[in-house]
Symmetry: C2
Subunit: 367 residues, 2 copies
């Protein structure tokens, strides 16, 4: 247990790439994609040994809040905050910082996505413990970086500089999604890490940083935080929050701060060497499962009974049916009550386009 | 109307290659694979202008009989005969011949599969009318041959000889499923036709031929026919029919008879030039539909709403759902209440192996 550690879990995403399983009211983080617990339940479970349940906060939206409260019975429902409208990560995290700074001036906030996978939970908690210590020691920001295994162009990268203390290295720079050439260069250099979206900093550090870099938004958030816990809160929140800037904490705080230079910025990177996977698509989920399974043909089929013939590398989700796969490779089929998706492992990242189409056609039941 | 024409429709097949849509009690001929009527309903409808409804006979099995009677309300239920056990085509057709010879000595039997497609029905009836006339004229057998469009190894072939009268040619020989090399040779020669399974002959001709070539079976069938219409029929049928030889009419009658030489055999071939298709697999069905449709991408999707992106040549059947197909080509997906099939157009003929597996595993609900 780390007494002053407050996990803040961001759970407002839609995860459209898991359509048709994911829907507006049943986003990726609320699905049991890896085991019997949902992604957000797993996120909480792996943090619970480090912090009291009453110190968890969740930031989400109105569509998802009821289901989240239902899935996380151990947490305080009043800590599950639904944004009146999505404003990206800076305001969401900032609000938590201003509220927690009032509650506990020594609070260290851990910021976590709600829908990622961690294979080695013990190592995860070791890394976090080291990070919380660094974050508690002063105006420090700790980012968790994943050693890149491929030149992924869909992630942000962290350039690490010289060694600081323990396993931490100074951070030189943040680079948003690079093109393929630069991504390959980053991976070759050995000094770049994927930005996992996990950060550690004290509430005071974060509140000060926002006041410095986003003064107008910080002022609004401070007013909202002042009303938290009173009857005025919902109205204040609804009135002021939409006026906050729609910007990520990376752009708003981390990039300008890193520009101060590796010694001045006080940003540190810890290696997230605990088997991290953001499960960004059906294909990523398939690979994650296959890596764990002993199936030689690489088929992954959730169903009531299976027949395969000359089939390999397929991912089929049809939990209520008998599934037969004949002479097919590398296909993804997701069968839900009202929608059927047929795609390939190579194309599954395009599934978001189906949701875009359904949004445009106002086929609300299907999104 | 051809007064003495009696269509006999063989409807005992299982059609396992249309699994999971086809099942033991819902075989291919009972499915609406092409339009809103089922295959057997279409078979009857295209023959009704040629014969009175009360002259139709259906030979099927116990599993399918109730559904067939339900689908064909215009026909006489007592003419829908369920074999106590499947005995191939010679006994099935022979039974009809012995019954009909007693009923009308001038009866001409037209033998028809119950699950094939005919595009040009007017031409179909023209060809049949010519054939019935030939069959009525003496001890003649008329077979309908389809001009081969590919070196198919799954069909029987008819070798045509010299021109007889009208459009009819003498038949030289029947050859069962040839290998690929011979099939290619047949197609090149221009004198070979696919055996469509449609035959015309008088009841007397057929009864005589069976008595000649299958005397033991003919005797049994004659006894069964003698009891038809009496209370003894079900018991006699159940007792004697299983003792008939399990053999096709092609092997039992047509091949030995054709060996007599083209003049002696009195077997004639008429060109089935009316757009015939036996719809032997999901792929054949897909091709049949695509040929009729105007879709440029060759996707054929039955669903509630469709989204396609970089997808072509796919066949998806999921009539109750929204279907999205992303980055996939030439895939076949059949979605039913309790089973999901994923295969390719090139592999759909292997679907029978799924049914074999389900039979072996005694997964009776699924077959």
């Amino acid at each position: 247990m780390l007494a002053n550690f407050y996990p803040v879990i961001l759970a407002g995403g839609r995860g459209t790439r898991f359509w048709p399983l994911s829907r507006k009211k049943r986003a990726k983080q609320l699905l049991a994609l890896d085991g019997k617990d949902t992604m957000i339940q797993q996120t909480v479970a792996r943090l619970l040994p480090l912090s009291s349940a009453k110190q968890f906060w969740i930031i989400t939206n109105e569509d998802l809040r009821p289901e989240i409260v239902g899935q996380l019975r151990k947490l305080r429902p009043e800590h599950v905050i639904a944004e009146p409208m999505g404003r990206n990560t800076a305001p969401a995290i900032g609000l938590a910082a201003f509220i927690l700074r009032r509650e506990n001036p020594d609070a260290v906030i851990g910021l976590f996505p709600s829908d990622h996978v961690v294979v080695n939970e013990t190592r995860f908690r070791e890394v976090l413990s080291e990070g919380v210590e660094i974050a508690a020691a002063g105006e420090n920001i700790v980012v968790l970086g994943v050693e890149p295994s491929r030149p992924e162009t869909g992630y942000g990268y962290i350039q690490a500089g010289s060694l600081a203390s323990g396993n931490a290295r100074h951070v030189l720079r943040f680079t948003e999604k690079p093109n393929a050439e630069r991504a390959a260069e980053f991976v070759r250099s050995g000094n770049f890490y994927w930005n996992s979206g996990m950060f550690l900093w004290s509430a005071t550090t974060l509140a000060n940083a926002l006041t410095e870099h986003l003064p107008k938004t910080a002022e609004l958030l401070e007013k909202i935080a002042a009303d938290y816990g009173t009857r005025k809160f919902p109205a204040t929140f609804r009135r002021l929050y939409p006026r906050c800037e729609d910007i990520s904490v990376d752009y708003a705080v981390l990039e300008p701060r890193s520009a101060k230079g590796e010694q001045e910025s006080n940003i540190f990177c810890l290696r997230a060497d605990f088997g991290w996977n953001d499960l960004g698509s059906w294909t990523a989920l398939h690979e994650h499962h296959v890596a764990k399974s002993t199936s030689a043909d690489g088929n992954l089929i959730s169903s009531q009974g299976i027949f395969t013939l000359n089939a390999s590398g397929n991912y089929v989700h049809s939990p209520q049916k008998f599934v037969a796969v004949v002479g097919v490779s590398d296909i993804v089929v997701i069968d839900t009550e009202d929608a059927l998706l047929v795609t390939t492992r190579a194309n599954s990242q395009d599934v978001g386009k189906v949701v875009k189409f359904l949004d445009e056609k106002k086929l609300k039941k299907l999104v």
